[in-house]
């Protein structure tokens, strides 16, 4: 009996919280059509902001841009699951938003809901991630070119003119766009050059602790290396912790070159202190690009290109300044 009562209680609590979550986003704009008063209604579907520092910065950037003061009425919905995101999209369409901004959790499964959006006159703008859908279903997509990020980093490394490159390559979650792009450039270079060797290539799944163990294992084996190519800052930090414990010097003019990605503020500070050598940017600040597109569309202009690739920099420890840390750190 007790069990049944509890089960019913928990089930109803779950349903309630689901309803609460589901309606939280549209609720703020539920009574809007009458009172929107010229404001542009946007529904923003994003991944969970605590997925990573990148996502946190991305979300904060969007929230700062799409405010009432800037003429927007924005509703936000978050999920790391594709089906939940699709559910949110349907809610937003029913809610008659003007624009649907989408960072899809998965590339597949979006066709039918985007067709619904088109039928309802909702304009769709993709940001951060692309999807496998007909390009006619969305207005624009604003993305990072991960392969270019990798290429920039590898070109920088080649420019260091080391006599030999013995690289520990720490990869992100295998198959993710960031991993594929950032690994691709390095793999191609290692295959092409005779003095570039991979000492160890391992996925640490964006996890600092795993990166630490992987580098520790190379150190314990006594294999010489002089470059750490980590596909994000967290993993570079884990790798550096292992170097520090083993008394291996790293940074500008030292034994090991340390490279990271994403430009977290703390990572850029490591660059500024010359403990690391390079950090590649993955630009989370898409809101101004989106704002631009919406302004153009509202003015009736047509967009010159559908896919917009953002500018992304790579920072070198010898040239980075405090201004860079403040402006580009996330």
């Amino acid at each position: 009996m007790m069990k049944r009562v509890l089960a019913v209680l928990m089930a109803s609590a779950m349903t309630l919280s689901l309803v609460a979550c589901g309606s939280a986003a549209p609720a703020s704009s539920g009574s809007a059509p009458a009172s929107s008063g010229g404001k542009i209604k946007v529904g923003i579907i994003n991944n969970d902001p605590n997925e990573s520092g990148y996502r946190t910065a991305n979300d904060a950037d969007l929230k700062a841009k799409f405010t009432e003061a800037n003429g927007y009425e924005a509703s936000f919905a978050y999920s790391l699951k594709n089906d939940e995101q699709i559910q949110y999209a349907q809610n937003f369409i029913q809610d008659e938003v003007d624009y649907l901004l989408l960072s899809a959790a998965d590339t597949a499964g979006w066709d039918s809901v985007l067709k619904d959006a088109q039928a309802a006159g909702v304009k769709v703008i993709l940001f951060d991630r692309t999807i496998d859908a007909d390009p006619s279903l969305y207005e624009a997509s604003i993305v990072s070119d991960m392969a270019k990020e990798g290429q920039t980093a590898v070109d920088w490394l080649a420019g260091q003119n080391l006599s030999e490159y013995n690289v520990i390559h720490i990869q992100g979650v295998m198959g993710s766009a960031a991993q594929q792009g950032r690994s691709g450039a390095l793999d191609a270079k290692v295959a092409a050059e005779s003095n570039w060797n991979i000492v160890k290539q391992q996925t640490a799944e964006w996890n600092a602790e795993k990166a630490q163990q992987i580098v520790q294992s190379v150190i314990d084996a006594g294999t010489p290396f002089n470059v750490i190519y980590a596909e994000n800052d967290d993993m570079a930090k884990g790798a550096v912790a292992a170097l520090d414990a083993a008394g291996i010097s790293h940074g500008v003019g030292k034994d090991v070159v340390v490279m990271g990605f994403d430009c977290n503020k703390w990572a850029l500070e490591e660059l500024l202190a010359q403990n690391w050598n390079y950090d590649g940017q993955c630009n989370p600040f898409q809101s101004s690009y989106i704002d631009d597109i919406i302004k153009k569309l509202e003015a009736g202009e047509t967009l010159s290109e559908k896919t917009i690739i953002m500018d992304e920099k790579g920072f070198d420890a010898t040239t980075i300044t405090q201004d860079d840390v403040d402006n580009y750190g996330i």
Partner: protein, 353 residues
Amino acid sequence: MSNLKKITSNQLFIPLMALILLAVINLINDPGFFKVTLGTNNAGYPVLSGYLITILDYGSELGILAIGMTLVTAASGGQDISVGATIAIAGSAMLRVLCGGNSRPETIQAPIIVAFLVACVVGMLCGAFNGALVALFKIQPMIATLILFTAGRSIAAWINNNELPIVPDPKFSYFGGFIPGIPIPTTVFIVAICIVIIALVLKFTNLGLYTQAVGINESSSRLNGINPTLIKFISFVILGLCVAVAALIKVSRLSTINYSVIAKDIEMDAILAVALGGNSLSGGKFNMWSSILGAYVIQFLTTTLYKFNVQSDALAAYKAVVVILLVVFSAPTVRDYMAQLFKKVPFMRKEAA
């Protein structure tokens, strides 16, 4: 024959055999595996390094968790799958106290000991929550702990307003690294302290006996004046305390936290440590020491696989093989068969002679 039986029926037999097997494989592959060298770290202090030190160091969290997990398993006949998520919660609370809600403070805002005590309280509260669901509401442990398993990492992120604080004080990194001047990793001392405490508790209190009694037969232990609800509850609270200690080490290793990946999948390793220690996962009799040994065997396996360049996302598959072997060898039918086989062997020898 009776000696052989004595050895094989000892609970320490399985983890010890696994340990020896791994050691032999590594010895054949590379005798340098067992080399321990004294070097200096980047701060200029002497430190020991080598694969064995790495295993002792990185196996610490698992060893500590195995203590609590063994008690929970023995008392409730189920496992806590929320330990990874509660490590995130306890670690997050610790950083919140140390950094005072500011993600990049100049100095720490509270003494480390205060932050650790807060983490202990938080860890024990999480344990108490799980324990209450299991002991009072009689929910299956795996289902009860599924709640924190699902929600824990979000709660951890919420504690620090979704920010990732970094502890500025180098003293904080001693717990997961080295104390200046002492070449042995601090984590080894932390585990040693935990083992001594639990050994004293098991020796001077009835906790061990009562836990086994509750795990073997709840109603008969109640008839004998033991309160099963309380014992189960206490086992979860102790696990919560172990979680807080493990969180201290985890957070200290890098002086920061990442809610989505910290201590990821550690609950499965902790459960595997208990199983590898030859303890019944359905509760009852337990051997604490073989669980702890099991934890280090798992880390030995992990380190070995890293050495052999196995992709780290494939590690789980190798651990699955270990689980399969364990399950097969502990199955009653296989045990009976093995026992019969043992009986036959000397008989056949006699005939040959």
